[in-house]
């Protein structure tokens, strides 16, 4: 019978539809290692479990609990797995990604165990009384910390916000046998992947992001955003105006309603910087803005701003970047 460290932190690791570990894996285990002993829980289709467990150990899990599920889309069965792992490990905190799937798993699990939820954390620490989470509120205008009145907190962590990484561990795997729960669930008939450009960093986890706004003028001209993104090896985002105008898909929307990003570099092209857009990007480390309107609010928060024509400036930036690379 394996025993678990008293300072165990249970980390629910999400699996992609293709059976790959989610990008949040390393940062969640890194966050957990900073406050205790990371124990990973994985729920996936049987054929992927072995590889996923090995990856979790490599990313810092001291032990890995795994269970087979029929689908990684439905969140009630995933919460069943987390529940069983929690009862076995009795951890001091439970960490999950603040992604669509994992936040639902967190919510279902917290309700079942009447545990306190801390959502969209940017970091986790310890104080004398236990694990606390830090948050950024109203799009980065306020910083808060939260803690439970008692018991282990269930914390969802904003993807891309944790830089710490844990040391690789030897794999210590235990299989859980989780019986099908009795939760009411929906039926999933068909899942189709949205064509993603695998060569380009994913928006949420990219360390650099180039976003385009209404100033790009058309879907064809939005190509300029992709070109600069590729020159910088950056992910691609957009303002709501650009999404509403149909220049790019909704998943790329950065802002209050959409994705919140905190990259090392955020480049805003033809984006005026409405308050709702700033709410999704103003915690970026460095902000660069190019816009023809010198009164655009984006310049109030830009570390480097250029007032001018994106269609003239950006191609020159790309050539200068290429020249630098060629040196």
């Amino acid at each position: 019978m394996t025993t678990f460290a008293p300072d165990s932190i249970l980390v629910f690791l999400e699996t992609t539809l293709g059976g790959e570990p989610a990008k949040s894996t390393a940062e969640l285990l890194g966050a957990a290692a900073g406050i205790g002993t990371p124990v990973a829980v994985i729920a996936a289709e049987a054929e992927h479990l072995e590889a996923l467990a090995a990856h979790a150990a490599q990313a810092g899990a001291h032990s890995v609990l795994s269970a087979q599920v029929d689908s990684v889309v439905l969140t009630a069965p995933l919460a069943d797995v987390l529940q069983q792992a929690y009862e076995l490990v009795q951890p001091q905190a439970v960490l999950l990604a603040h992604s669509l799937t994992s936040r639902e798993v967190a919510a279902r699990f917290a309700v079942r165990h009447k545990l306190a939820l801390s959502v969209d954390a940017l970091g986790v620490q310890r104080d004398e009384q236990g694990v606390i989470a830090s948050h950024s509120i109203y799009g980065g205008a306020f910083a808060t910390t939260s803690a439970p009145t008692f018991g282990a907190p269930v914390i969802t962590v904003r993807v891309g916000s944790i830089e710490e990484r844990a040391q690789a561990q030897e794999l210590a795997l235990r299989a859980l046998d989780v019986a099908a729960g009795d939760s009411a669930e929906i039926t999933v008939q068909d899942v189709s992947s949205v064509q993603a450009d695998s060569a380009r960093p994913e928006l949420r986890t990219a360390t650099k992001v180039v976003s385009g706004g209404r100033g790009l003028g058309s879907a064809e001209q939005f190509e300029l955003v992709y070109q600069l993104a590729d020159a910088l090896e950056a992910g691609v985002g957009a303002s709501r105006a650009a999404v509403d105008a149909g220049f790019i898909e909704h998943a790329a929307q950065v802002g209050q309603t959409g994705v919140a990003v905190s990259p090392q570099l955020y480049v805003a092209l033809g984006i005026s910087g409405a308050i709702q857009h700033k709410a999704g990007m103003q915690t970026a480390k460095t902000i660069v803005a190019i816009n023809k309107d010198s009164d655009a609010p984006i310049f109030e928060i830009a570390d480097f701003g250029i007032v001018g024509d994106v269609f003239k400036i950006v191609p020159r930036v790309i050539s200068a970047l290429e020249a630098r690379k060629a040196q």
Partner: protein
């Protein structure tokens, strides 16, 4: 068919939003409170069902301060048949769990075929409440839908996953949450506004719902500290003179960003 639509009043995202630095609570006086946009879209989904199925009965439900009544009245003017307002001083600073317990208790007082919510509020950004209600009410939840249809007691929809979409379905009763891909709400017309004056807004307290704010067996999330971040300051802003691109690349290089 009976539909409950959950709506929420939030600080306007188009203005500066403020937390009180002593209490950690939203400073409601600092910015205008508005109906969260996703709530308007959620109501519109229900109104579209009402358009095609006139026997539909829509109840809007909200938890919050007195000011929410104006918003509930507007929802009634748009076509909702009734409204429930949960209001109690003990709900000040309520966390997600308490909010879910309160809303679940209010929903248990009737037999709804469909409970509609937005996928995520603009102030809390948790995106958790729909499945918390699903757990508390033992109902299936079809969340994050960009399309939704109800036919013969079955809900069908397109669920937006990260990097994929799924076609999902569930028999009613069920909970559904929608994304902002669905259309914005209609405006109330004069007839609707007049009719709304006669429609009921039921006000409920925690005692009415038999919910305890601090039960011994349920952990609450509390805010320990709150700090206003210093506003970002503008850095170098230049007007393009043909050399700006080079200056930008030098800036990126100096900061190890290329």
């Amino acid at each position: 068919m009976k539909i409950a639509v959950l709506i929420k009043e939030v600080p306007d995202t188009g203005a500066d939003r403020t937390l009180n630095q002593h209490t950690g609570l939203a400073d409601r006086a600092a910015s205008e409170a508005v109906l969260d946009e996703i709530g308007e879209r959620t109501l519109e989904v229900a109104l579209k069902i009402l358009d095609s199925q006139p026997e539909t009965h829509i109840t809007v439900l909200s938890m919050g301060p007195e000011t929410i009544q104006a918003t509930l009245r507007k929802a009634l003017a748009m076509g909702a048949a009734g409204a429930i307002h949960v209001s109690d001083e003990q709900l000040l600073g309520a966390d997600l769990m308490l909010t879910a317990q309160v809303l679940a208790a209010a929903l248990r007082r009737d037999q709804y075929d469909l409970i509609l919510t937005g996928n995520m509020s603009t102030d809390g950004s948790a995106g958790m409440l729909p499945v918390m209600l699903a757990e508390l009410l033992s109902l299936p939840a079809a969340t994050s839908l960009s399309q939704i249809t109800i036919t013969d007691g079955v809900l069908q929809g397109t669920r937006e996953l990260e990097g994929a979409t799924a076609q999902v379905s569930t028999p009613l009763p069920a909970i559904a949450s929608i994304t902002e891909a669905l259309p914005d709400a209609r405006f109330p017309n004069f007839k609707g506004i007049m009719a709304a004056k006669k429609k009921p807004i039921e006000v409920l307290s925690l005692a009415d719902l038999d919910v305890e704010a601090l039960p011994a067996d349920t952990a609450r999330s509390i805010m320990l500290t709150v700090n206003q971040r210093p506003a970002r300051e503008a850095g170098t802003i230049m007007t393009d003179d043909g050399q700006a691109a080079t200056a930008l690349v030098e800036f990126l290089a100096k900061n190890n960003l290329v």
